[in-house]
Symmetry: C2
Subunit: 473 residues, 2 copies
Amino acid sequence: MAWKTTESESLLLQAPLRATAGGRSRRPVSGPVPVVTLGLIGMGNVGTAVVRLLQENGDLIEKKTGIRLELRRVAVKHLSKRRGIALPAGVLTDRAEAVVADPSLDLVIELMGGISPARRYVLRAMESGKSVVTANKALLATWGAQLLSAAGRSGVDLACEASVAGTIPILRVLEEGLAANRIERIIGIINGTTNYILTRMAERGESFGAALAEAQRQGLAEADPSLDVSGEDAAHKLAILAALAFGIQVRQKDIFVEGIDALTPEDFAGARSFGYALKLLAMARSEEPVVELRVHPTLIPAAHPLAAIRNEFNAVMVVGDASRETMYVGRGAGPMPTASAVLSDVIACAERRLGRCPVKEHAGPVGPRRRNVFWGNRKVRRMGEVVSRYYLRFPIHDEPGAIGVLSSTLGRHRVSLSDVRASVVDADRATGIVEIVTHGAAEREVAAAVAEIGRASILRAPARLLRIEELRT
Amino acid sequence: MAWKTTESESLLLQAPLRATAGGRSRRPVSGPVPVVTLGLIGMGNVGTAVVRLLQENGDLIEKKTGIRLELRRVAVKHLSKRRGIALPAGVLTDRAEAVVADPSLDLVIELMGGISPARRYVLRAMESGKSVVTANKALLATWGAQLLSAAGRSGVDLACEASVAGTIPILRVLEEGLAANRIERIIGIINGTTNYILTRMAERGESFGAALAEAQRQGLAEADPSLDVSGEDAAHKLAILAALAFGIQVRQKDIFVEGIDALTPEDFAGARSFGYALKLLAMARSEEPVVELRVHPTLIPAAHPLAAIRNEFNAVMVVGDASRETMYVGRGAGPMPTASAVLSDVIACAERRLGRCPVKEHAGPVGPRRRNVFWGNRKVRRMGEVVSRYYLRFPIHDEPGAIGVLSSTLGRHRVSLSDVRASVVDADRATGIVEIVTHGAAEREVAAAVAEIGRASILRAPARLLRIEELRT
């Protein structure tokens, strides 16, 4: 784990002699290759992909970085399970404690998921001086602050690129690529399952139930899909993004969350007829002195690049005060794309551990990156105060004056109308639909107006309210 | 520049006492804030934006990173020029030598452009122990290897995020975010000027000349636009991207380059009629044991996200073996977006200089990141051997048998046709147009067939050949 031999078991320096490609001669390479030793907890789909990617690209990573990553211990639940991947004898164990306590390891990758006992293992690994790489967004969204300060106390890195937006290196973008910016907005499609469902509903006119069933058949939705379709998973990820972007500590209850399970084919048809696409967006916006944090189905201009993000792909748009609009696209899930993000963290942590002290006789690992974790301190705007445009759909009894009631009620609540379209559903039964796109209005006012209209006995079914984000194309 | 005071002038540690926001009390912050001192060479549009961004966001950057960036010296050509930006007395100089030689500076930002004398200044700065941040793609494309090894010898960083794709942190993505991947392909729209021109030609049917004139009026094209419209600028950037992605040293002559100045409204109409958009793409593809490197106008499926990249925006698609398709979008030029990239490098270099040695009595800067620069060694495929699909347009004398000559000549060269459309231009004069989309064929064969057709006296004007990239949407 460093550039000279010490008593640490982790300093397994490789021999400087290597065969050349042709195999005819051997010559020394420029010096010993430092080894960083890894432990892994959890070998499900992503864990298996991490092991495979290390096996396939370990030599390439060594060529690029000059560092050998060596997987020493892997903790699994069931030792006997077949995984289609070969590991040297002695690597597998069913005791995660043995991995986090192993003094020969430099770094632990936590991929078991869930909060307990993952939290305990992560803490123990860091306390014993190991950097930790995790993809566990639920753990980070709930215990992130505590884990980060524990990492600081122990002088180790805690990295979690794979926890948000799969393969997209979005945390690095926020922390490094856009580091000089005051981040103004983040708008993300950060749940692949729901984006797949919405793509099918939009392109094939399927119902939510049918599209969900297909997602489950494709392995893109869990048997219990509630964490995804409720928007909660996206909210976990938004908490991480907003924390990095604004330097704030986000509690889940600060995020307004609305899922996609109530969406109908009529919502997609309505959106399309006004020139919009319908996506589940996670949004964070800074408007000093407050921030807005919300996850909900949203109408966006059909020509905006985010509207073209299909199926299980994720995309995050980040607006900085200097960079202006930027966007990052990639697969939000899947074993290998996620393993790519996990190993990018492993490589970064390994490189930091191998940073060199300039004093030759003390060459050794340097500390983790020093970053202030929560440098901002902001209030979250209540949803009622959020201003946006709205798409409203009112199934009405087609009586004289119904449209008058709608527009006058909205007007009394200072909701002004940008576009109104009335259509007859059934002339015999005198039923119709009125669709309205409003100008910018406060959620509180729109909700009050819609509630008042609901009491006016002109509706034959509940009104529909969807928010619009007027992104520039 | 470090965590304890030494004799170095660069260790200007700030006082630990700061006023709180309310100004009523003073309390110590957690410790002294380390200062990294900067010199800047060149204060054109981007240089001015860097100074402004440092002034506007310097406090924010300190909050995020715990590092104070202090601009000490700025070399300009004309001291008397008004720049609308205030600098402390003594900062401005018209002697770049004084900046690169100043022992109190930790880092030099080179934004003067051009190869000479920029190269000399960069080398001098590094030799005297300063890290260098530059946006100078021409310098990097021609002298990159030498500069990188000079940086290695001096133990400093040389960073150049702003040299490719403006504000998009694409070099960081290749070096870090996708570090665990074997990169298979890079497909980029990396010249904002030409993308703006092509957007106008596509959306408004303008001629190349008219669109170029408008780009010049908008300040998006130089008075002499040849570096951009010839594709050379994109080739410079592609050389940098390919070097990082594949670990190879790229010579400009290895890149096939074709510009956009010969494109006509008919090309856009033809592309559209077959379902394609027309973009100037810079492409690098790895196919062991060779790589392909090319810049040329290219037809891509109209529904692909790259087709939606409009005006001066840039986008880079990167395909890794684990990540699969990823895409990065943002402004490719403009003072503030570029300054965002420049300062992201400054922050990264500053953080590396401040990495800590664990031996307390020797706390001090650690070395730069160790990366192997050229770890790959590959041949470049000759353009004649490149296989792709083609769009061909033949303005013909509408004589019996003309289409027969076309298809049989192409067939003899093993170019098979996917779609053929013939249309009459002027029935009286018996003139027509035949448009063909081919299946995959080697460039050499297609070019030979087109040349042979040119000699067959069935054409009333030269044939048009454009390459197609069948990106999946």
